[in-house]
């Protein structure tokens, strides 16, 4: 359909430009966070992250500490404003009020016959007809190269217990992703390929449960967990995530399994395979794409979850997962420390982003299977 009549090239350009615009708008917030996470606290508050790739012009003041030398009847101090370091002076001045009145290389005529000359490499010559008693201040503006560092990441991983939260998140996520898959796969097979009274009703129930709000389960299930002796614990959150993930898992897997070719399954049965064998040897391997898409869904959902973690995990800091850590701890105690916040947020979204970009194919397939039908 690429070169059908009616697609004008001017329209094509408009389309290209609008898509670029939309993509940029969608990316800006995330890029901002990523850039900010590599800048230190002062840099973040001094200039916007969108300017961080440009060198920043900053004004400095140094004391001309050199030993005054008498030369041709005037007292002279020579030195370099950068000391041991190096840099590029763009402008300079002799007064606090006008720190950038002169361009590098010029000679500034100051009050009482004093002069100041500064080169762009920072060398300066200060002269005064009178005796120099105190070291005079010289002012200059220099471009600071953009600076990025891992300092925020080091701080947050080292001192703020984020490493613990990361491990907790991982601990919650992996069992909560793996366990529902198997349970759901068996149920989905029964709903797709076994004939029994009440099958239609059960499928309807599963579809209905897809939209039951999680909030309903919080109070009664926490009470039940407490009564069972599970309480607020990792075991409790694994069980909760398993329960909450099952409707989607069964629904996705059933939709996929129903579409498998009937011939294969029936010929296996004719050859004497039991349902159990048909399931483990034929249906399960063939359903890999659906299993993968559910696994990604469940992984992203449990990794990103805040609500279930807040309710079913203990509220002490040893059991915080990253979302709880950020929402309840960092935003409160370090609410103003933008660098730390950005680094913490990026640590928490890095793993899902990697999973997302490597397994996107399965995610899309799963979404389509779950909704279009």
């Amino acid at each position: 359909m690429d070169n059908i009549a009616g697609t004008k090239s001017s329209l094509n350009w408009a389309v290209q430009i609008s898509v670029i615009l939309l993509v940029v708008i969608w990316l800006i917030p995330t890029v901002g966070l990523l850039v900010s996470s590599f800048r230190d606290r002062d840099a973040i508050t001094n200039s916007g992250w969108w300017l961080s790739a440009l060198p920043v012009e900053q004004n400095f003041a140094v004391k001309a500490e050199g030993e005054p030398v008498s030369k041709d009847g005037v007292n002279v101090i020579e030195g370099n404003v950068f000391g041991e370091g190096s840099g590029t002076v763009s402008k300079f001045g002799g007064r606090r009020a006008a720190p950038d009145a002169f361009k590098a290389g010029e000679t500034a005529e100051l009050t009482k016959g004093r002069t100041l000359t500064m080169q762009s490499n920072g060398d300066y010559v200060y002269t005064s007809p009178a005796e120099i008693k105190r070291a005079p201040s010289v002012y200059f503006a220099a471009a600071q190269p953009p600076e990025f560092s891992m300092v925020n990441y080091e701080t947050i991983m080292g001192s703020a217990n984020m490493d613990r939260a990361f491990i907790n998140t991982l601990t919650v996520t992996i069992p909560a992703t793996i366990i529902p898959i198997l349970i759901a796969a068996f149920a989905a097979y029964a709903l797709a390929w076994m004939d029994f009274p009440g099958r239609g009703l059960l499928i309807a129930v599963v579809v209905g449960l897809l939209v039951v709000p999680l909030q309903l389960a919080l109070v009664p299930m926490l009470k039940l967990h407490n009564a069972m002796g599970v309480g607020q614990s990792f075991l409790g959150i694994w069980m909760a995530h398993t329960g909450f993930g099952l409707p989607l898992a069964i629904y996705l897997l059933r939709n996929y399994m129903v579409g498998l070719p009937r011939d294969i399954i029936e010929s296996a049965k004719v050859d004497g395979a039991t349902d159990f064998q048909v399931f483990t040897k034929i249906v399960l391997p063939l359903s890999f794409p659906a299993l993968a898409s559910f696994a990604i869904f469940q992984f992203l959902w449990t990794w990103n979850d805040l609500l279930v973690a807040k309710v079913f995990l203990p509220s002490n800091s040893e059991s915080w997962v990253m979302t709880v850590k950020i929402a309840d701890d960092l935003l409160g105690s370090r609410g103003g420390d933008w660098g730390i916040l950005a680094a913490a947020a990026f640590i928490s979204i890095a793993v899902p982003l990697i999973v997302f970009f490597t397994m996107q194919r399965y995610l899309v397939r799963g979404l389509l299977a779950g909704s279009v039908k």
């Binding site: 993509v23 900010s36 349970i183 709000p213 398993t242 909450f244 992203l300 950020i326 928490s348 899902p352």
Partner: protein, 326 residues
């Protein structure tokens, strides 16, 4: 015991237990209860096949009943009791909810969310799906717009806190305002009423990708003949889109719309992280969480209100599913 070892152990026990259960129960059924090598093997096989589906279904049904069906009843029952749960007050919690201005704010805000977020997400999703449909680099564009789906609501909220920061050197929004001549930074999250929309932007940003993926799939599924016929009849691109394509994917649009509507009733993270429900931004899920652990009677009453709002969608979904199976 460290949580990691506990986790590994749970995986082994969970997966092993599942496999063991299914294997052992099938074995038991075929060899012990209804053995094939018996007087009437045919009858036994039939009987075994009547029981087997329930063996396959049992663990899932048990978990679903416990974690999703029982809570509907359990929450409703709990919502009829007072704060400490020892006194039956019938619909007292619902009555006091109705009288609480905070609840009314949350309800109205949530209503606005339910109007704006699904509409905007579906609109942008459809826009991107259509625009990228024939682009060579469309897949890259889609993948980038889809990306926020992978980001947690907490992470997304933090990302947007940067955008909204009350400082033109941090917040891009204020920087743009300054560039356009404003002189004082504005904290958009504290501007009553409008702050709700700034919070909705976050969810729209996340959900557009979801809408786009599904609608893009639906657009691809449109039979080409209909479009070709329209072109031959001289339809312009806009007519093709609005009169040929959109009507054919209406069903999918409705699915996307309702899915996002349901989501809006579940997401408490954004309001919780951005404003904590202050400045008139409370919505039902966050309102419920503010009573969680403090007054279970009220919390469950709010949860049940959410359930009632979801109910029509649930009924509609079930009907659709049943219609498809016939």
């Amino acid at each position: 015991m460290s949580p990691i070892i506990q986790g590994l152990l749970t995986i082994v026990i969970g997966v092993g237990g599942c496999v063991g259960y299914f294997y052992a129960s099938n074995l038991l059924l075929d060899k012990v209860i209804f053995p094939v090598q018996s007087k009437n093997p045919g009858k036994n096989i039939n009987r075994a096949n009547m029981v087997r589906p329930w063996l396959f279904l049992f663990p899932a049904m048990f978990a679903l009943t416990l974690y999703l069906i029982y809570p509907v009843v359990g929450s409703f029952y709990r919502s009829l009791f007072n704060r400490s749960g020892d006194e039956f007050i019938a619909f007292g919690n619902y009555v006091s909810l109705g009288q609480d201005p905070g609840f009314r704010t949350a309800f109205l805000n949530n209503f606005m969310w339910m109007l704006v977020v699904p509409a905007a997400s579906t609109f942008f999703g459809l826009l991107v799906a259509q625009l990228t449909d024939r682009l060579k680099w469309g897949n890259i564009a889609k993948s980038l717009i889809f990306m926020p789906m992978a980001i947690s609501f907490v992470g997304a909220s933090l990302i947007w806190r940067f955008m909204y920061a009350n400082n033109p050197d941090i917040g891009l929004l204020n920087a743009i305002r300054f560039a356009m001549g404003a002189t004082e930074a504005l904290d958009v999250l504290q501007v009553q009423f409008w702050n709700n929309f700034f919070l909705m932007v976050i969810l729209i940003w996340i959900q557009t990708g979801f809408a786009m993926v599904i609608l893009s799939g639906a657009l691809r599924g449109i039979p080409e003949e209909t479009i070709e016929a329209a072109i031959i009849d001289g339809a312009n691109p806009f007519q093709i889109f609005f009169k040929i394509k959109v009507p054919q994917i209406m069903g999918t649009i409705v699915v996307v719309w309702t899915t996002i509507t349901i989501l809006v009733l579940k997401v408490f993270d954004i309001v919780y992280t951005m404003t904590g429900g202050n400045f008139g931004t409370e919505i039902l899920p966050s309102y419920m969480m503010s009573y969680m652990f403090r007054d279970d009677g009220r919390a469950t009453a709010v949860a049940f209100v959410i359930m009632i709002i979801v109910l029509p969608v649930m009924v509609w979904n079930i009907r659709q599913a049943r219609a498809e199976m016939k």
